[in-house]
């Protein structure tokens, strides 16, 4: 009733939808970078959306199943194989005992999520299974997954699922149905929708112009906390010292050197840099699937359009959840 991590790849960690209620003590929300894909992986397995999943970054991971299991992979950044059989994403999978899932390079995306039916047995810290390494909390002893780690399943796997799947000669089962791709694969220049940030008016006119009209490259100095952007520099009309205030995922702050940083899942709770823009929350999953080195551009929208996009995304997720509820 477990899997063993043979190789964690570039970076793998246990994540759920985040740690809520402790930001007043400085504890970030954290959780999956692409919460839509993590949610979808759980829905496919029939799990609650907040079950812990394995977040894989790019490729190179391999996991051995010590017992047969029902699972799903959603997201991007890798191709997954058992032996020579490529495992399709967004489908319910049956993985026979003692098989090893390994991931190889893919041109699209950045993060993929592996969920198992019933979920992994993970001790919740402050109400969440999410790994937050700076404080060493959540997941596997507060750290990223490492070779030799064993993750137990919460419950016995349901063998009856097999009868509903298409079986390959190798014993792998694949559902006939699949879910829609909610987070589109990354095109040449990724367009994310953004609105003016709280300090937008304090920036000089060139900065106000450039933030929505130029391309940026996501720097290799990017991580779960934030994406650093390379491109135009930004500066305030007048030098002002900001008093620190709350920040969160999607906020674009500008450092003293003039470089924008988009705050991501592990965003600190409080920040002191001026905030030039805010990425629409519905576009964060797309950003999470955009790897360093790629180009992005901010498409300016209004607060209302931003709210509409978020509502539309949550409606799509609800529709998918209901659709999966009756897979036959």
């Amino acid at each position: 009733m477990s899997i063993t991590i043979l190789k964690p790849g570039m970076m793998s960690s246990l994540q759920d939808l985040g740690r809520w209620g402790f930001q007043q003590f400085g504890v970030p929300i954290g959780g999956a970078m692409d919460k839509v894909s993590a949610t979808l992986a759980n829905y496919i397995c029939g799990n609650d959306e907040n079950e812990a999943v394995i977040e894989m970054t790019l490729h190179g991971a391999s996991f051995m199943f010590n017992e047969a299991a029902v699972c799903a992979i959603v997201g991007g950044g890798c191709k997954a194989f058992v032996g020579d059989d490529e495992l399709p994403f967004n489908r319910l999978l049956w993985i026979p005992a003692f098989s090893t899932i390994r991931t190889t390079a893919s041109a699209q995306g950045c993060r993929s999520y592996l969920a198992v039916s019933g979920g992994f047995k993970v001790k919740k810290i402050l109400g969440s299974a999410s790994t937050y390494t700076p404080s060493g909390i959540g997941g596997m002893d507060g750290r990223n997954l490492a070779t030799g780690d064993m993750l137990s399943f919460k419950r016995e796997q349901d063998f009856h699922v097999v009868s509903t799947l298409k079986m390959l000669p190798s014993g792998i089962g694949i559902s006939h149905w699949h879910t829609a791709e909610l987070v589109e694969a990354t095109p040449n220049v990724v367009i994310v929708h953004a609105i003016k940030g709280p300090e937008f008016d304090l920036f000089n006119s060139a900065s106000q112009e450039n933030i929505f009209n130029s391309e940026f490259i996501i720097s290799s100095q990017s991580n779960r906390m934030g994406y650093r952007l390379e491109g135009n520099k930004f500066s305030l009309e007048r030098k002002t010292e900001m008093v620190s205030t709350a920040v969160t995922t999607g906020i674009v702050q500008v450092t003293h050197e003039g470089d924008p940083i988009i705050l991501m899942a592990d965003a600190q709770t409080i920040g002191g840099y001026p905030r030039i823009a805010r990425i629409c929350a519905a576009d964060i999953p797309l950003l999470a699937q955009t790897r360093p080195g790629l180009k992005i551009r901010f498409n300016k929208i209004s607060e209302e359009e931003c709210a509409d996009r978020c509502k539309e995304l949550s409606r799509s997720l609800k529709r998918l959840k209901n659709g999966i509820g009756k897979p036959s």
Binding site: P198, V243, S244
Partner: protein, 228 residues
């Protein structure tokens, strides 16, 4: 009467900002507002995050942003009209033992030289008054405290240290703080406390909370070692 600025920082998070300056009065207003919200939350309320002069409210899709804005605006008018000065005494008084031995306060000699005072004088200044915890942030359990005696004001390091040990007591500008975990940081380290600032197995998980009043008490290296 303060007219606060209310704005979104996320589709499901709204900040109410009372002031852009650091003052006890504004911070008290922030705390009073947090208490008012938590004791009678609106449907869909998730959590409230206090900062120096602002409070940020996170909410679920059970409530619209417009409703939260109106509610905050209404509530802040009532709270600022009725804020009770007795709140000033509400903060817990907490003593924190600190060892100012230069082996732990690794920047103490540099700070002393820069401010043209003896190391003893720096310690005396740092322990001469109690500090208010304005907020917890940066990393879990990190208290932003002030206001330092002006004679202790010192710039941050030009290049942040790669590793500041957990428990390090540090100063920067008008502020003093305690590093709860080993992280990179740019504040000047003048001592170390043996107390644990962040422990997820305790309730609350942070040793200090916004509004607490902290008095540093010097201890010897022997006393520090006995703690651990």
């Amino acid at each position: 009467m303060i007219i606060p600025r209310i704005y979104n920082i996320h589709d499901q998070a709204i900040t109410i900002e009372f002031s852009q300056e650091i003052s006890d009065a504004t911070n008290l207003l922030v705390i009073a507002m947090q208490h008012a919200i938590e004791s009678n939350p609106i449907k869909g309320f998730v959590e409230a995050v206090p900062a120096y002069g602002s409070l940020t409210v996170y909410f679920s899709d059970q409530v619209s942003a417009a409703t939260v804005r109106d509610w905050l605006s209404d509530l802040s008018a009532r709270v600022s009209n009725n804020i009770n000065i007795s709140l000033t005494t509400k903060g817990r008084q907490i003593n924190i033992p600190v060892c100012y031995d230069p082996s732990l306060g690794t920047d103490l000699d540099w700070v002393a030289a820069h401010l043209n005072r003896s190391m003893e004088a720096i310690v005396d200044l740092h322990t001469s008054i109690a500090y208010r915890v304005y907020m917890i942030g940066f990393i879990p359990g990190f208290p932003y405290m002030g206001t330092l005696p002006s004679a202790l004001e010192i710039p941050r390091k030009q290049t942040p240290s790669m590793k500041i040990p957990a428990g390090s007591v540090a100063i920067a500008g008008k502020q003093t703080g305690i590093y709860p975990a080993e992280v990179p940081g740019g504040w000047q380290v003048i001592g170390r406390t043996p107390l644990r600032m962040f422990d997820p197995s305790t309730t609350p998980c942070s040793f200090l909370n916004t509004g607490d009043i902290v008095q540093f008490k010097p201890i010897t290296l022997e006393a520090f070692n006995q703690y651990s």
